[in-house]
């Protein structure tokens, strides 16, 4: 529908008659010239006059048109995009992403949330009297929208109060809230504005389907990205709370998992570990594009002595790296236990009077005194009957034929308590027992007999996932040979789910090392039954890696690490004398619920942690435990999803508007109609230019 916003100017339309008037007046006042003869003029007349008349008419039309367009331009013509629907009041749902990534800097070097607020305010400003507007955030609770309002002041205040949180966004849930709001509205016109950095990790398949669903339901969906491209960002993704012995058993080191979310290698990152205000360790790391790996940081535990009180033998440590686009993920909190050695129960069997192989024992504890970082005890399958989490961290089954049901039951219970398991499937292992009895519920690996190398053609084994912690002690690239040793046979295994991963394989693709939660499987012999692996340089780091992986997974399950948005959780060794109170940053205080968890007590705060930091559990006026709370690292990858993927599958694809200025124009067009004064002005200029060109072209050079 076409209309004028300044119709008063239309009174000037009669001005368009001026050229016509001038034309006729000038015709009437033509001078008369007496000339000797007009015979030459008359000869030219028919052809020329026709051309001249046509040109005169054209000139007259152009002049009149120019004035008409000019007058119309001043009257501010506008056109409604969808006639009556656009003029009518609309139910407007505004989804503002306030996830952690919105705290990152945008292309202008300001927090993305500022750009989001600016866009939100533009939408509120453009609201008309009858509009119903609801604002929701992507980290908000999944409840009916409370801030549904047509009150502009209140809406403005709501938008201004939105800030970036420490939580991952749930766009799908926010869109569902928007859909429910629109469904409840009695207004026919529905609009949805999604203001976000459109992080790929937040815009899941479910979120994309919601966008398509809204669009199919007739809502006008507008996507408002606050950034247009991926911003490089590195993050400390994880910390291993267990300190371990340094190289060759000297000193201590802690491990931090660093990730570089970028299309190019990172600069040299400086990583520092602090205990209170004291710097206790650190190092420099350079990461490849999109690389994620564990880095070992040398720690001087004594440097922090006295800097911060340990709580029940645990120390709150902060690990920081250089700050980049998203500062929140460049710092991570961890509660490190006092350094202690991993306790390994090694289960072996003696056969036909031969002593059991000692290769793994030597690999873990060469001096047999615990100086290698591991305390190794050797036992038989019967030893498993006395297995307890309080005594051992990891059980190593070394080519054991099978376990009694009692021993197996105890082992499963050990795993449930957070223990780790390493299994070597050598020539004496009953693969049928392992495949059908022990593995179900422990690791998703099917076993299909033994694969022997043909004569003189030993298996070559290669790293399939070189960055995996199991291979941390080896410097490897994908596909590079793990060892020069000859393997003559391997147990033939097949991974049956994504919960297990082949870390090392033969050249033919048979898994040799498989990793799962709390479990490391070696599908070969730890002795020299199937080749000379124990004599190669890779043997010691491989065995240590298998044990470390099993132990580390176990410790992560201990639940001492909490995420922002969830209640802080802590493990208490003894029953608290009274009510447990949790205090944390930003005046956080909460009661905690305590329950027995087998090896002690598990205290869970009643209120979720709003920000990262240390949360102290107090019972009876004394500090009982401390929990480290960190943001979910899923927000670290600042890669935006492609707009095309959000626009696919909709009959009326959502429109994407990049800048605030374009958004304001769009809103004005939507609310008041698209203003065409500029177009009219340009057309008037074109008409005038055409008139000038035509008028000057008629003058023939003398």
């Amino acid at each position: 529908m076409f209309s004028f916003l300044n119709p008063g100017f239309l009174w000037a339309l009669p001005l368009a008659g001026i050229p016509i008037l001038i034309h006729f007046l000038s015709k009437r006042r033509l001078p008369e010239i007496r000339f000797p003869t007009v015979m030459f003029l008359r000869a030219l007349e028919p052809r020329e006059i026709r051309r001249l008349r046509l040109r005169e008419i054209l000139l007259l039309i152009l002049r009149t048109l120019a004035i008409l367009l000019l007058v119309c331009a001043f009257a501010r013509p506008s056109v409604q995009p969808k006639a009556a629907a656009a003029r009518a009041a609309a139910a407007v749902a505004v989804v503002i992403d306030d996830s952690e990534s919105m705290g990152a800097m945008d292309e202008q070097g300001r927090p993305r949330i500022e750009g989001a607020r600016e866009r939100g305010l533009a939408i509120v400003d453009a609201a008309r009297g009858g509009d119903e507007i609801a604002i929701t955030t992507t980290t908000g609770p999944d409840a009916p929208l409370a801030n549904r309002s047509g009150d502009r002041v209140r809406l403005t205040r709501t938008v201004r109060q939105i800030g970036a949180t420490w939580l991952p966004g749930n766009v799908e849930q926010a869109l569902e809230r928007a859909r429910r709001f629109l469904g409840r509205s009695s207004l026919r016109a529905h609009e949805v504005y999604v203001i976000s950095d459109f992080q790929a990790t937040n815009f899941t398949k479910g979120a994309r389907e919601k966008v398509a669903l809204l669009s199919r339901a007739g809502a006008r969906v507008v996507l408002l990205p606050v950034v247009s491209s991926r911003v490089p960002n590195h993050a400390i993704e994880d910390l291993d709370p267990a300190l371990r012995a340094g190289p060759q058993g000297k000193g201590l080191e802690m491990r931090a998992r660093l990730v570089n979310h970028a299309d190019a290698p990172s600069e040299r990152l400086s990583v520092r570990a602090r205990l209170g205000d004291a710097l206790i360790g650190g190092g420099d790391v350079t990461l490849q594009a999109d690389e994620s790996r564990w880095a070992s940081l040398p720690i001087d535990w004594r440097a922090g002595a006295g800097a911060a009180a340990e709580i029940k033998g645990k120390a709150p440590v902060v690990v920081e790296s250089d700050v980049d686009a998203l500062a929140g993920d460049d710092r991570r909190f961890a509660v490190l236990g006092a350094p202690r050695r991993l306790r390994v129960l090694r289960i072996v069997e003696s056969r036909a009077g031969e002593p059991a192989s000692r290769f793994t024992a030597l690999a873990l504890d060469p001096a047999q005194d615990g100086s290698g970082g591991y305390v190794v005890e050797t036992g038989t399958p019967a030893s498993l009957l006395g297995l307890g989490r309080s005594r051992y961290d990891v059980v190593l089954l070394e080519d054991i034929a099978s376990l009694s049901s009692d021993a197996e039951g105890r082992l499963r219970s050990f795993l449930r308590e957070g223990g780790g398991l390493v299994i070597g499937l050598g020539p004496h292992a009953d693969l049928d027992y392992y495949g059908h009895k022990l593995f179900p519920g422990v690791v998703d690996l099917a076993l299909e007999g033994t694969e022997r190398a043909s004569e003189g053609q030993a298996f070559e084994i290669r790293a399939r996932a070189p960055a995996h912690p199991i291979l941390e002690g080896l410097s490897l690239a994908v596909g590079s040979p793990l060892t020069q040793s000859r393997l003559t046979a391997v147990s033939k295994g097949r991974i049956t789910s994504s919960r297990a991963e082949a870390i090392v394989t033969t050249t033919g693709g048979l898994p040799v090392v498989v990793a799962a939660q709390q479990v490391s499987i070696f599908l070969g012999s730890f002795s020299d039954d199937w080749g000379d692996l124990p004599y190669s340089g890779a043997f010691v780091p491989l065995v240590r890696g298998l044990v470390d992986h099993a132990a580390r997974a176990a410790s992560l399950e201990s639940g001492d690490l909490s995420l922002v948005g969830r209640p802080p959780t802590a493990h208490l060794d003894t029953a608290p004398p009274g009510a447990v109170v949790v205090s944390g940053p930003e005046s956080y205080r909460s009661q905690a619920t305590v329950a027995s968890d087998g090896s002690g007590f598990r205290a869970v705060a009643d209120a979720p942690a709003p920000v990262p930091g240390f949360y102290v559990f107090e019972a009876g006026g004394r500090e009982a435990a401390v929990a480290a709370v960190n943001p979910d690292p899923i927000e670290s990858d600042l890669r935006p999803v492609s707009m095309e993927s959000l626009q696919a599958g909709s009959p009326d694809p959502p429109r994407s508007i990049l800048t605030v200025r374009s958004l304001r124009t769009h809103l004005r067009d939507m609310r008041q109609g698209r203003e065409l004064w500029l177009l009219f002005l340009v057309l008037a200029a074109v008409a005038l230019a055409g008139e000038l060109a035509l008028a000057s072209a008629r003058t023939v050079a003398p």
């Binding site: 008369e32 010239i33 007496r34 000797p36 003869t37 007009v38 003029l41 030219l44």
Partner: protein, 298 residues
Amino acid sequence: MAKTSQRLLDPHFVSKLARLDLRARLVVDGFLTGLHKSPYHGFSVEFAEHRQYMPGDPLRHLDWKVLAKSDRKYLKQYEEETNLRATLLIDTSASMSYSSHGLTKLDYARQLAASLAYLMLRQKDAVGMYAFANGRGELIPPRSTPSHLRQLLVLLERLEAAGGTDFASSLHALAERVKQRGLIVILSDLLDDTERIASAIHHFRHRKHEVLVFHVLDPQETTFQFEREATYIDLESGDRVTTRPQELRVDYRSRVKGWMDKIREFCVEKQADYVAVSTDTPYDRALLEYLSKRARLL
């Protein structure tokens, strides 16, 4: 001296003088003075009655008195030495009244005719005049007496441009009346049907007359340098055409040039001399053309 003679040949300067006879004399005198430096150097009408004796000349014409006084030999020449009979034909149609800069085509033709008559009489040629328009004309038969000039000038003085040309009828009528062959000098803008003009010239040529055509045009007629859109009224027919000069200028010039070329072609074909003169063309060009023609005739 040369500068003064140039001024005397300028149509605009001469037109400011009141008396036609004076104007004619000034033009011819200026012209003759200028001739001393012209390609016709050595040709002199001043010595038309006396000529230096050359071996072989008949002694009976020797001027003995001069020989006795100055011991130089001159020949006495007789008035009857020349037999050129010239008739000046002046177009007085309405189109000749056009002027774009003060001097009408008729004024120019009048002045040129007076000058030619004066020059011819000084050369002892017989001069007649025929002023024509609308198919009719007034004829003064050729005579060579000095007093004849006055009669011619009186006619010229009272000429007024009026009516159509009907060039052919007027000239055919004259061709029938002028029995003795001679030189026919036409001063006209030739605004008539070219075929009829050609037939009239052919008629004169058929009667063994020599024909010299002075095509008198105003500069605006050839350049069409008008700027504004206007209604153009034909001076003879009264026809009106409204047009924009700037739009037609190029085509107009091309057509006028074609028309003049066509007249020139049929003049060449009929062995008539054609001289296009503009009303701002100095008179000496026309006089030179005449003298050149006369030289060829005698």
